[in-house]
């Protein structure tokens, strides 16, 4: 589904990603772990097309298409979804308006019919119930005045509505207490299927107890230093990242 080949990227002229190779197949969950500043978030922004992240070398194919040539909204239409580490507050835009516009934009892109107001409300009710979200959160402006947990739930709601082929979860556990973490993880797990894949970016192993990965990669110094199964996450929990950062520096 996703093939990243020798990906190099710079931010403000500084090279952050120094040759990433990663292949993710449908049905798989990959975790990328690593210390702060290793390039984890940069990777998620490069994949979703944020301004200011310049690819200097390498390529990324998504379902065989050149992902890097697409606009951010086209990537979303193709099925790439980023659950933000820090979801953005947008005063003045009601959450429902935003969700409906996003869903219908993606449906248009995919050649599916738009949902009318009634159909949308029915669908969104279904999803909020699943996520234990209040209707009140739909009426408020996007993420404005939301607690950390509510913001992450709102990300999960967007994911549930947009049904992405590839979900990138960027530090989804940050700012969550254990109950919120479980709820968000449950909803993510509901989306698991043979046709979609996930890339879970996290500093800590904790999240991976709830979203169990098939593969774990350690990203440090802009490169994947080592890959393994889910047991690698547990090892890291004990030993920390010092080994990899030291190796890479050496």
């Amino acid at each position: 589904m996703l093939e990243i080949k020798n990906l190099h990227a710079t931010v403000d002229g500084k090279e952050i990603l120094k040759g990433i190779d990663l292949t993710i197949n449908a049905g798989e969950i990959h975790a990328i772990m690593g210390p702060n500043g290793s390039g984890k978030s940069t990777l998620s922004y490069v994949l979703t097309g944020r301004e200011g992240y310049e690819v200097t070398e390498g390529e990324v194919l998504f379902k065989g298409k050149n992902l890097l040539e697409m606009e951010p909204d086209e990537r979303a239409g193709e099925g790439v979804f980023l659950a933000f580490q820090y979801p953005v507050e947008i005063p003045g835009v009601p959450n429902t308006t935003f969700l409906k516009e996003a869903l219908n934009s993606v449906r248009r892109y995919r050649g599916e019919g738009e949902l009318d107001a009634m159909q949308f409300v029915k669908l969104v009710r279904e999803k909020t119930k699943m996520l234990h979200m209040s209707d009140e959160m739909l009426k408020r402006a996007v993420n404005v005045g939301f607690s950390g947990g509510e913001k992450k739930r709102n990300e999960a709601l967007q994911m549930a509505l947009l049904e992405p082929a590839l979900a990138i979860l960027d530090e989804t556990d940050s700012g969550l207490d254990i109950d919120a973490l479980k709820t968000v993880a449950d909803s993510v797990n509901l989306l698991r299927g043979p046709d979609n894949a996930m890339l879970v970016i996290t500093h800590y192993q904790r999240l991976l107890e709830y979203i169990v990965p098939d593969h774990v990669h350690v990203l440090a110094q802009g490169k994947i230093q080592v890959s393994g199964g889910k047991e690698l996450a547990l090892e890291l929990e004990k030993s920390g990242y010092a080994e990899f950062t030291a190796n890479a520096a050496a």
């Binding site: 996003a102 967007q158 947009l162």
Partner: protein, 439 residues
């Protein structure tokens, strides 16, 4: 249009102006004309016109509006309120009152809603007392021009304790004449103690002709009176629009104003409010969306004259292409005005590199125990928010439109007359839909 062209208009029209048989009015007009001729059209050399040049107006040529054009085929003037709503409407075409297009619903006892021309016939003594009573600023040449040339307008008078539940809508349609016209509507609002009204002014167009509207309005609010005063200026893009408002607010009274500007090649709203009694309060809020070569100027002056008065002022603008906006807000807290609460803010979104805002917030404080603030911001759309929307599949233009709408929505949705919100929101939507991308 030079100063001389306007004085020529006056000479040509003098005998046709209403109320020429009233000596006090003739004197008022003649004095105002003298003042206008001496001062001349404002130029950027004047401090309060530093950022707005009337050169484009001077280059244009307008005729004086004489007799109304007989037949203008129009069934109904546009309304900003739901068609089912039961409200009072006065409609003017090229500055002339059109009874056939207006709706004069029955008013409660003690309420008078009429035209200036009718009032001159019915109660000139009352007008003599109020007309020109508040517009005393000798530096305002355009207000003087209005006083000299005023032909018609509306008059609203409410006796003590009268509440008008239905809003009043004043509609001005410009550009309908055979040629370019200049006209000077004059309005008068006098609310006696404890009375309340909601007033909506709508300036729009129906023809192709360029025109110049120069409005003068005086608002007098006695103790405890409340006026919600809204204005949508959606004039033609080849029109000029200048408006001067003077409001005097007595103890416990509220002047609540919100103005939205989308139209006119060049426009200026100048509002002066005197908070003259304790617990007097005013809200002066505004929103504007301009593009192309448009120029919009909002100039406000609030005087806190006595203790315990409050004002709040928020102007938000969206400026695209080579358009230019001016915000000049002056709050003066006089020596006796202890415990004044005054807050002012100008916020602008600049959508192009060539868009420009000149913001000049000014606080002048002569009392020591006050809570006042002011601020001005200008910037592009929030890039983080834009990326967030796009990452959810919303195409760039739609995402930009959502953020622009959201920026102004807060101001619009805060107005007291909720029935007016849909029309204001749809004029924002209309503006956004007509936003061509420059290659």
């Amino acid at each position: 249009m030079t100063t001389e062209t306007f004085t020529d208009h006056y000479s040509a029209l003098r005998d046709a102006l209403p109320g020429q048989d009233l000596p006090w009015l003739s004197r008022l007009r003649a004095g105002a004309l003298e003042q206008f001729a001496a001062a001349g059209l404002p130029t950027p050399r004047q401090e309060s016109w530093k950022y707005t040049s009337l050169r484009p107006l001077e280059k244009a040529g307008f005729g004086a509006t004489g007799a109304p054009r007989a037949c203008i085929s129009i069934d109904r003037a546009p309304s900003l309120l739901p068609s089912a709503s039961d409200h009072h409407r006065l409609v003017f075409v090229d500055g002339h009152y059109r009874a056939d297009l207006s709706t004069r619903a029955p008013l409660p006892e003690g309420a008078v809603l009429t035209t200036l021309r009718e009032m001159l016939g019915k109660d000139p003594a009352w007008l003599e007392e109020h007309l020109g009573a508040l517009a005393q600023d000798d530096s305002q040449a355009l207000m003087a021009l209005n006083t000299a040339m005023m032909m018609n307008g509306f008059v609203l008078r409410l006796a003590k304790g009268v509440t008008l539940h239905d809003p009043i809508e004043i509609v001005h349609l410009g550009g309908a004449g055979d040629g370019p016209l200049a006209y000077h509507p004059r309005n008068l609002v006098v609310l006696e103690s404890g009375s309340q009204a909601t007033l909506i002014e709508h300036y729009t167009h129906m023809g192709e002709q360029p025109y110049y509207t120069n409005i003068g309005t005086e608002v007098s609010l006695a103790e405890g009176a409340v006026l919600h005063h809204y204005k949508l200026q959606a004039e033609a893009l080849n029109a000029f629009h200048t408006a001067t408002v003077h409001a005097e607010v007595a103890a416990g009274a509220l002047y609540d104003a919100f103005g939205m500007t989308t139209g006119a090649r060049l426009s200026r709203n100048e509002i002066a409010v005197r908070l003259a009694g304790e617990e007097a309060n005013c809200h002066l809020n505004g929103a504007y969306l301009v593009r192309g070569e448009q120029h919009v100027d909002n100039t406000t002056k609030i005087d806190h004259l006595v203790p315990n008065t409050a004002c709040s002022e928020v102007f938000k603008g969206v400026i695209d292409d080579r358009a230019r906006a001016v915000f000049q807000g002056k709050i003066t807290v006089h020596r006796d005005a202890q415990h004044t609460n005054g807050h002012q803010l100008s916020k602008v979104l600049l959508l192009s590199d060539k868009a420009e805002i000149d913001a000049k917030p000014e606080l002048e404080i002569y009392a020591d125990d006050v809570a006042c603030s002011h601020g001005a911001t200008a910037g592009d759309l929030d890039h983080d928010a834009l990326f967030y929307l796009r990452a959810r599949g919303i195409p760039e233009e739609a995402a930009r439109a959502m953020l622009i709408e959201a920026f102004l929505a807060e101001s619009v949705q805060n107005i007291a007359a909720q029935g007016l919100c849909p029309a204001l929101m749809s004029s924002i939507g209309h503006w956004l839909a007509g936003r061509p991308r420059e290659a």
